[in-house]
Symmetry: C6
């Protein structure tokens, strides 16, 4: 453990910290604790406590907060619904990684962020897990479309990630029944100047059309699933977005409270969570 | 605020200056104030007043004026109608950024310029806002086509911008219902030597045909909207172009005066401003 | 004005010189006057007169004469008809830039040259002006085809220029009604190693076919216009070519004299000058 | 022999070592023996015995073990069935290289490994031998599909290898009756910057479609053969996977024992081993 | 004239030399005379005479003779008919450049050569002149096909030249009526790394098919013309080839003598010389 | 002659050596004799005799022998039939270059080799000679297919050579009647970085399909000819392969003896040697 040189408060549970940072190497953890010590020093604390560590983790994993950034009320509301869409879909889909935190405080280039943390570190991904991820990625745009009177460029990054993911499912991991267990083109990491060109010689125009159709089908069915899920839970979506506008940050347990409270009040969020065999 | 070292006239309202320069960093503002101080010094003034700051802002944002450039009367008239077309469309479309200034004094490589300034700084753009921008971009060529006996190469730059914008709406931001929420090709900023080639392997010939059809449809419908708007307001277009020929520069409020005066005289400019759901 | 240090003859009208060199910068003009002073010195003159300046201008704008080049009589006759074709079409088309000079003395890589000079400097070009330029470019080949028993490789450069011009009209300036106000591919000046490739990903095969058809239609209609114009004025074409063979150089006013004299003698050159709306 | 300088235990049979390392050069063998000596020294042994050499061979041929890697029980079970699938198919197909070892201890980037060792070193490969290899490569994914409720990204590498192998059979070795004894494109090893491009000019779009169809047919028939083989021997697959979960490593003779024991108990594993003429 | 420093024999007619070396610069001529002086010196002559100059000219224009090269009788006969084919077609086609020399002594990489010299230096080429050149280029292969029992790789260079020439006629000089007066792709000389790629974006697949058809039509009609011409004059072809086999070199006047003698003896070589309007 | 400095045995016939090394330069011959002298020295001989020269020639022309390479009996038998197939086809086809030597001792990267030596050095190749070469190239794979129960990757190199040869016949030497006397794409030797790309712009998709069909037709007809020839002479193929397995090397005269002996015993090998006009 890399926490010895910094005086840690007695409330710090190192095992919780390690579990919530999957994929972190020893050096990453050391960096995180140093960041927390800095924060503690800046506030004249004598010990690094769990709050410092949590703040440091967010900064390392999501980029620094940019509270000074000027955001219009309209954009803030748009962001709140967008992130609420992501978070709620993630919450409602069984098997999805738990939501760790949602925020509408700008970080790095993003106006808001929804962060999930897996229970166990994964080395391989099941097809249904990936399909769920697609539905979560589309949760933001769908929320904009359902609630607000416009769609925005804010979903550009989600759309790009979703397209890349579907392409890999079909072309790299053999997860389309129609195209079968074979690869099409070279893997991303093999692409560098020159080698890149071979991608084109790899399959025919006819196969390219089939790949396109398959990618588009999976995209559209995933978007549709997100739409059904959020339409069924529209009142809950409003509730999460409103809480987010008020508090700016919600962690996983706070969202749990909202969902549970909503259920007690008569809502039934879990009706549409079937993970249909899309691809 | 970066205005302390330069003696500012008492009529200077710094907050107005900051609001009319969205996207400016502190360094940009400092540069602007220095430019204004230079202008004031050149005219032996003791203080930098609002006029100096406005001139400096125009120079920084639109390039230096080139009053010595020889322009034939025909070209000047062509430019006046072209810019009046942009400005009037921007004025008439609800939701478009306000017109800040129109000029037919050459600046940089341009014979004339229409400048809009947003009320709030934007970080994301709604689909309808982008569609309005397309109509504004086509206002110049449409004015030439409607009033003058020819169309010219002067609209080349507007046409290029419009094409790029529509391509991004369809291929990057998932704003075409027909093609759905996915990306096609790589984003502009990822294009550099070598990587560029992957764009081709990204989608099939059939998809390329669909993308082309969708881009062309949005282009043509936007051009049509600009045509309807200016046809309906043809007398007002003549009025704005004539004022521009006479004064060479009009700011937003002066255009407002023209439009209002025209309305009092019986015109009805706002009939065709519906923002039809094009894409 | 950059003419002070060189003793100019009293017959020199500097404003005429400046008007006949559109696009020249101050440095270009200075270079021209120095060239003229050199010529005057070589002929032991004390002043630079208008003739020296005219010779210097031709050298700077069209390349040095190559009187020693061996040209067969057949090639000389071919060149005379080719240049007469260009010049006569330019003369007959209303709105075309005036013909400044035609020559069949080889200059640079060319066996002959027809030079037009615009009345005013242009910064934008109207569609009909460009269509006229196409007809003028085809005047050379058409004259060969009509009068001589063969067509030659001598029109290769005109054909290349015409093709490039039509492509820009269609792909860059939105001047084809069929393809609409949008760009296809990147602009010439943006093409450098690497970026060049994006041109291909820009539009589909189907659009490429439409672009081809549109370019070919405009090419063929322009060629047809040149053919009609020169067929109607065939006797005048012979007259201009013969004068050119005899004098080797004709300036604009000399061609005017030929055309006028021809008219007095019963010809009617201006029947086919309609600028049909081709594109 | 490169084993003289290191004191070898008397139980070491050098000929067995050499036979089980086909393709090894003298330097490779020397390296292997040094690795074994290191292991022996680390355990304070005076001699290098056969166990040390076997461990060293595994490390050199399969990468270092990564016992510290955290793997969830679900992933471990997935890996066990995946590797059992490979191993069992290899065991059941007559003519396939004998299974040397199967492991679910992570090595290098892999969560598990199945290693086959040929009886004789091969310099050429018969078509049926290659077809068998395809069936073995698909054994992993098929086992996941048959037994577990999902397919995963873990088969990505097998799928890539299978696709490359089929492509070479069809395009390089003339092993498709339909496409005949000719090459299509350039061989892998000739591909470097620049030369790579020729691959595209090599055959027409129509031929590309035929190549695609042929590759996909062979892929699908091989996958089908793996499916039939493992479906027929499903109980044996469970047995091997369970043993693997319990022991983490099985060598060839241990698998033999499992299969034989299973046969004695009434199973009949060899029914579907026909090497149908696929390609 | 660059011949002063070397003592020239009195029989040397410098004007004849200059006329038979079209395209030679002064430096080229000087080089040629030095080469002749070297030859004269090697043979202990005191003066450079016309024979030395002729030998030097051949060396400079056609490469050095390679008399030591081992050629089988079969190949020598093949070469004789091939060159006789070129020479006879050139002789029989009115308007073709006169045949200067035919040789079956190997020079450079070639087993034989036919050299034509134009009467006047040409700067442009008429379409019919180019069509004649195509027929001459095919004369070699056609002679092989008609007389010998096989065609050989020896015509590879002629075929390449013919293909390049037709491509330029169609794509660069606008000499196909069907495709019209426009360019397709970039000119050869503009092709360098990078720019080369634009060639592909230049025209559509449909246009490419039309260009191919047009090029092939002209190729085939030219080949057919060569075949008709040599079939009609088959006995004369045998005569020229036999003389060539016997003498190894024939100059233009010697071929004239053969043709004339043949005519006196009843042949009628000029029946098929119509220059049909192919393209 | 480059053999003077090394003491040559009196049985050495230099003219035979020179004739059996076509294409060798003086330096090549010198190198060969030095190699032989080295061999003689290694065996403590005082003179270089014909055997030394023959061994040296094989080493220079076919690579060094690799007798230590471990080859399984199955692979050895496969190689024997493969090489016997090449050699027998070469022997039976009239007009093919004589077989010089066949070996199944590995040399360089090859498990076996069949070497032909032309009677005369060739500078051009007749179409039928090239067609024969194709049949010989396919002799190896055909022998495997006819006699053994499998085809192997061992024919990969033959298949590549055959494909390249047919492509050049069709695309470079105008030897397809269907596609005519023109070139398609650039010649191999002109291909370097950058220029390579032009190959693609050279012909249309439609032409590419025709080229593919023509190449495949010639490939398949040549393969069929090899199959007919070896099927008719199957017993002779067995005889040659058996002798090769026994002796490892056979020279041309030894194969002659086998064929003659076989004929005396009632075989009739020459029935299928018609060189059908394939292409």
């Amino acid at each position: 453990m890399h926490t010895r040189k910094v005086p840690l408060s007695t409330d710090v549970d190192v095992s919780v910290l390690a579990r919530s940072t999957p994929g972190f190497t020893g050096a990453d953890l050391e960096n995180l604790v140093n960041e927390a010590a800095l924060l503690a020093a800046r506030n004249d604390k004598e010990n690094v406590n769990m709050v410092d560590l949590e703040l440091a983790k967010d900064k390392v994993m999501m980029g620094a907060e940019r509270r000074s950034m000027l955001i219009s009320d309209e954009e803030k509301r748009n962001t709140a619904y967008h992130e609420a869409g992501h978070a709620l879909v993630a919450k409602l889909l069984p098997g999805a990684d738990p939501v760790h935190k949602v925020t509408i405080i700008p970080r790095g280039m993003a106006l808001g962020l929804t962060q999930q943390l897996p229970v166990d570190e994964k080395h391989t991904y099941a097809k249904e897990y990936l399909l769920n991820n697609l539905v979560i990625l589309f949760g933001g745009r769908v929320a904009e479309e359902l609630v607000l009177e416009h769609i925005t460029t804010g979903a550009g990054n989600d759309i790009e990630k979703a397209t890349d993911l579907v392409r890999r499912m079909v072309c790299e991991w053999g997860m389309s029944e129609k195209l079968g267990p074979m690869t099409f083109g070279k893997k991303e990491e093999e692409i560098f100047l020159g080698r890149d060109f071979t991608q084109k010689a790899d399959y025919s125009k006819t196969t390219a059309i089939e790949i396109d159709a398959e990618i588009r089908r999976i995209i559209q069915e995933s978007y549709q699933r997100a739409k059904e899920l959020l339409t069924t839970n529209l009142r809950l979506l409003h509730k999460v977005a409103e809480e987010l506008l008020e508090n700016e940050v919600l962690d996983g347990s706070e969202i749990d409270v909202i969902v549970r409270a909503f259920n007690l009040n008569g809502g039934d969020p879990l009706t549409s969570s079937s993970t249909a065999a899309i691809a």
